[in-house]
C-alpha cells in the first residue's frame, strides 16, 4: 500500500487556489493552437470544459453517446444549483458553503478542493446569467433562492424544476459558439471504448461510431473524462438509460485509480417501483422537501387499511400521522441530508409501515404548504374570510408555480393527483460520490488524463448535498480544469500532433475490436438486460442502503459468478458494423459487472458508517445519537483509491489520508 499525493498547494485555505493559479505554467495563445484536447462527455462538466478550452484557443474534440450535447444526463437535474452569493442576506458565505459541504459529506472529502468549489461558486451564477440562463426571479427582478437539505441558508438558484436543463442548454450554447468557430469538433453518437497511453501519458482514445459501427482512432495531448456517474450499476436508478461507467472503467484499467466506489447516494424522494418490467426510477426533486412533509401512519391498523384501499391517506387526522423526520430530527426536520432521510424511510418501511402494496413507500404531503400559501395569498390580495376552497385554489397555484412540472410528471406516471392526495415516495439510487481519483489539479493517476464532474470522486465525500453536483460540474469545467490543464500542457508546446499510426493505437484498437467480435459471435442464450437485472438485485439487496460484512462477502462472490456466466452465455444480436443498441449495452454491462464487485469490496473494507455508506456493525449504541451512523475517524479518515490488477478481488488499495485543518472533525448531528 502506498500513500497518494494530492498535490494540495501550500498556504492558508482561502489563499491556496489564488496562489496556485499565480504559480502554475501558462500556455501562450499562439501555442494553444498547436495543442489538441479530447473531452469525453458533454454534460455540464464536459460541455463547460469543452467550451472554455476552445475559447482559450485549444483544439477540442468532444464526444457523446447521445445525438446532441443537449441531451446529456445533466439535462434531468431538477431542483437547483448552490452558490455562496448571500443574496438573501441570511448569513451565507464561502466559508459556510465550504463547511456545509464538508459536514454534509461526513468529513470524507478533501478540504482544499471543497474550499475552491465554494470559492468559485458565485462566479458560476454570474456566468450563467450572462449566457441567458433564465433562472427564477422575484417580483423585483432579482434572482430567487430556495433551500435544500442539510443546510440552514437559502443558497440554491433554480429554474422551476428544470434547473439542469437550463444550465446544460447554457453550456451547450457556449459549445455551439465554439463549434461554429471550428474550435470544437463534436462527435455525437460516438462512444469511447478505450484510452490510449503512450510513454505513460494519455494520448488519445478509441471510439466507436454508434451509427456505422466504425472503430476510430483519435489522438490528443490530453484526455478529459466527463462521462458522469455509475449509478446504473444498480440497474434501477434515476440515471438515464445510457448512463454508464465504461469510460471511467476503461481508464481505470489503464492505470487510473478508482476512489471510494462504495460512496453512493440513495435519494429519499423517488417514485416507488411498480413492477418487474420497471426500466428506471424517477426522482422527485429534493426541493419538494421545502414544502412537503414526510409521514407514515402511526398505527398499523391504518397502514393495513390504506394498503387494502379501505382508507385514504387524507382520511387520517394529524394525530394519526407520524412525521418521523420532524420527530427524530427537530432542528432540520424534513430538510435533513439525503442519506439520513433515506435511512429513516427504510427504517419505517422495514418496521412494516410502508403505505403501498410492496410496503416500500412513504408519503410526501403538501397539504400544510398549500394551506399556508393559500392564506398568505388571501392576505396579499386583501380577501378577508376566504373560503376553504379559495384558500386551496390559491395555495395550489403557488405550489404549481414552484413545482408544476414535477407534479405533472408524478401524475403522468402514477395516475394520482398530488395536489389532492400525498405523493408516495421511496429511496432510489441517484448519484455516485465515488469515482476516478484525481489530485488537486483534477488529474488522474495517468499523466495527461483528467476526470471532472460526477465521474471523479473529488468534492462530496461520503454524501453529496442537494444542488451541489451541478455546482461541481460547472466549477470543474468552467473555472478549474481550464487553468490546471495548462500547467501540464505547457510542456507539450513543441510535441506536435500525436500520430495515430503507432503500436499503442494498434494494440488498443485490436483489443476493442476483439471484444466486440466476441460479443457478436458468442451466441449465448440470455439477453444483456437479464444479467444487468441480476447484478442490480445483488447490489440493491446487499450493497444498498444498509450493508454488513456477510452480505458484502456474498455479494462479491455472486457478482463474480454472474460475470463469469455473462461471458459464457450472453446473447448479442445483430452485427458489429451497424447501429446496434444491444451491443452497446453489452459493453457497458460487462464493465458494471467488474465495478460492482470492486464496489462491494470497498464497502467491506470500510468498517465504519459514513454518509451514504451505512455498515450495520457501526452504529451509536447509546446517548442522544443512539441508532445513528457511527463514523470512525481514527481508522478510516482516508480516501480509498483502488489500483486495477486484473480481477476486482486483486485490486490494490492506496490511501490518501484526509487532514482536517480548517474544520473540526465532529459527529454530524441534525437533531
Amino acid at each position: 500500500m502506498s500513500t497518494l499525493d494530492a498535490k494540495i498547494p501550500e498556504g492558508p485555505i482561502d489563499k491556496k487556489w489564488t496562489n496556485h493559479k499565480n504559480k502554475i505554467n501558462l500556455v501562450n495563445p499562439a501555442n494553444k493552437r498547436l495543442i489538441d484536447v479530447i473531452v469525453v462527455g458533454t454534460g455540464l462538466a464536459g460541455g463547460s470544459a469543452a467550451a472554455t478550452l476552445a475559447e482559450l484557443g485549444y483544439n477540442v474534440k468532444a464526444f457523446a453517446y447521445q445525438d446532441s450535447p443537449r441531451r446529456a444526463h445533466s439535462i434531468a437535474a431538477q431542483g437547483g444549483i448552490n452558490a455562496a452569493k448571500n443574496y438573501q442576506g441570511d448569513g451565507d458565505s464561502t466559508y459556510r458553503l465550504f463547511y456545509d459541504t464538508v459536514k454534509g459529506g461526513d468529513y470524507r472529502s478533501r478540504e482544499a478542493n471543497v474550499y475552491r468549489l465554494a470559492e468559485v461558486s458565485a462566479n458560476i451564477i454570474d456566468q450563467c446569467v450572462a449566457q441567458g440562463v433564465p433562472f427564477a426571479r422575484d417580483y423585483g427582478g432579482l434572482l430567487d433562492n430556495r433551500s435544500f437539505g442539510g443546510v440552514l441558508v437559502s443558497r440554491t438558484f433554480y429554474a422551476k424544476g428544470q434547473t439542469g436543463q437550463q444550465l446544460l442548454l447554457g453550456a451547450y450554447s457556449a459549445m455551439n459558439r465554439q463549434i461554429a468557430r471550428g474550435k470544437i469538433k463534436m462527435y455525437n453518437r460516438h462512444e469511447m471504448l478505450d484510452v490510449v497511453v503512450v510513454d505513460g501519458k494519455a494520448r488519445g482514445i478509441i471510439a466507436r461510431n454508434l451509427v456505422t459501427g466504425e472503430i476510430e482512432r483519435h489522438s490528443a495531448h490530453a484526455v478529459v473524462i466527463a462521462s458522469g456517474g455509475y449509478g446504473n450499476v444498480y440497474f434501477l436508478s434515476t440515471n438515464a438509460m445510457g448512463s454508464n461507467a465504461s469510460a471511467a472503467w476503461k481508464i481505470h484499467k489503464k492505470g487510473a485509480y478508482f476512489a471510494n466506489p462504495c460512496y453512493t447516494q440513495i435519494h429519499p424522494t423517488c417514485i416507488p417501483r411498480s413492477g418487474d418490467y420497471q426500466s428506471k426510477l424517477t426522482l422527485m426533486s429534493e426541493s419538494l422537501r421545502n414544502d412537503g412533509r414526510i409521514w407514515v401512519p402511526k398505527n398499523m391498523d391504518d397502514v393495513l387499511a390504506i394498503r387494502e384501499g379501505r382508507k385514504k391517506p387524507t382520511d387520517l387526522s394529524e394525530e394519526e400521522r407520524d412525521y418521523y423526520l420532524e420527530r427524530r430530527y427537530p432542528a432540520f426536520g424534513n430538510l435533513v441530508p439525503r442519506d439520513v432521510a433515506s435511512r429513516a424511510a427504510k427504517e419505517r418501511c422495514d418496521a412494516g409501515y410502508g403505505v403501498n402494496e410492496t410496503g416500500e413507500a412513504v408519503y410526501l404531503d403538501f397539504k400544510s404548504a398549500i394551506e399556508r400559501y393559500g392564506k398568505e395569498q388571501a392576505q396579499i390580495h386583501g380577501i378577508s374570510n376566504p373560503s376553504k376552497e379559495q384558500i386551496l385554489e390559491m395555495g395550489e397555484k403557488v405550489v404549481e408555480n414552484k413545482y408544476g412540472n414535477l407534479f405533472q410528471m408524478y401524475e403522468k406516471i402514477v395516475d394520482e393527483n398530488p395536489y389532492k392526495t400525498p405523493m408516495k415516495i421511496y429511496p432510489a439510487t441517484h448519484y455516485t460520490m465515488g469515482g476516478i481519483w484525481v489530485d488537486y489539479n483534477l488529474m488522474t493517476t495517468i499523466p495527461g488524463c483528467y476526470a471532472i464532474g460526477e465521474a471523479n470522486f473529488s468534492d462530496h465525500g461520503a454524501n453529496r448535498l442537494g444542488a451541489s453536483a451541478l455546482m461541481q460540474g460547472l466549477a470543474d469545467g468552467y473555472f478549474v480544469l481550464p487553468y490546471t490543464i495548462g500547467d501540464y500542457l505547457s510542456h507539450d508546446i513543441r510535441t506536435g500532433a500525436i500520430p495515430t499510426n503507432t503500436p499503442e493505437f494498434d494494440e488498443a484498437e485490436k483489443a476493442v475490436k476483439d471484444r466486440i467480435n466476441f460479443f457478436i459471435n458468442n451466441n449465448g442464450t440470455k439477453t444483456v438486460d437479464h444479467f444487468h437485472k441480476r447484478l442490480g438485485k445483488v447490489m440493491w439487496d446487499k450493497v444498498g442502503m444498509a450493508r454488513n460484512a456477510q452480505g458484502l462477502n456474498e455479494a462479491m462472490a455472486e457478482i463474480k459468478a454472474i460475470r463469469e456466466e455473462f461471458w459464457k452465455d450472453v446473447k448479442v444480436p445483430g452485427k458489429a458494423d451497424e447501429l446496434n443498441p444491444e451491443l452497446e449495452k453489452a459493453g457497458r454491462v460487462a464493465d458494471f459487472l467488474e465495478l460492482g464487485e470492486l464496489f462491494a469490496r470497498d464497502a467491506l473494507q470500510r468498517e465504519e458508517s459514513c454518509g451514504g455508506h451505512f455498515r450495520e456493525e457501526s452504529v451509536e449504541l447509546d446517548g442522544e445519537q443512539k441508532g445513528e451512523a457511527k463514523r470512525n475517524d481514527t481508522d478510516f479518515a482516508f480516501v480509498a483509491a483502488w489500483e486495477y490488477k486484473g480481477e476486482p478481488a486483486d485490486a490494490v488499495l492506496h490511501k490518501e489520508n484526509l487532514e482536517f485543518k480548517d474544520i473540526e472533525l465532529k459527529q454530524r448531528s441534525y437533531k
Partner: protein, 249 residues
Amino acid sequence: MNLTLQIWRQNGPNDAGRMVEYKVSDISEHMSFLEMMDVLNEELVAKGDDPVAFDHDCREGICGMCSMFINGEAHGPDRGVTTCQLHMRMFNDGDTIYIEPFRAKAFPVIKDLIVDRSSFDRIQHAGGYVSVNTSGNTQDANSLPVPKADADKAFDAATCIGCGACVATCKNSSAMLFVGAKVSQYALLPQGKVEAVERVKNMVHQMDLEGFGNCTNTGACEIECPKGISLSNIARMNREFFVSALAGE
C-alpha cells in the same frame, strides 16, 4: 392487455422500409410505452431476431431523445408528454398500435424508429447563444434586474427539449416552433437582446438551408408539443425577423 403492433422497420438510410406486425401480451397498464417496447425487444432478442431500434435516454420527458409517431400523432395520444412518459393506460386490450419514426426531409431515418436530428443542432450553431466568454469575469448576476414576467416568458420558451415533434406533426415539416422558442428566449432577456438582430437572421437562414418547410399557421405543432411551447413564440420570431430585415436595409 394484449396488443398488436405495426412497427416501421428500416435497416438503414438506404433501405426502403416497411411496416411489420408484432404481438405482445400481458402488458400492464402501469407500464410506460417504452417499457412495452422493452418487452417486445427482449422477446425478439430471445428469438434471435433483430430488436426494434429506437432513441431514448432519460425516460422522464426531458432529454428529448425519444421520438415515436404513434397512431398518427407525435409522442402518441396523450397531451403534454413525450413518448417515454406515455403510459399504457392510454390504450385498451386488443388495440392495434401503429408506430413510426418522426418523418421529415430534414430528419432522415437512420434505422427503424431512429432519425437524424442534427439539423436542429446546426440551427443552434448558427446563432443559438449569447456571445459571452466563459471566463467568469462577467458582472454580478444581480446587477441587471429582469422583470419577472419577461424572465418567466423566457423560461417557458427555454423549456423546449428539441425533440422535433413539432416538425413531425407539421404538414410542411416546419421548424418554426423550435426556432421561435430559442429566438424568443434570448429576445426576452437583456443579455440576449444585444445580438437579437443577427441571431434571428442567421438561425432562420440555416433553418431554410436544412430543408424545413414554411409555416402556414395551422398550429398543429403547439398541440403536439410535449412542453407546451406556445405559438406566440413564432409570432415573436416573425417580429424579430421583420426588425432584422429592416435593420438590414
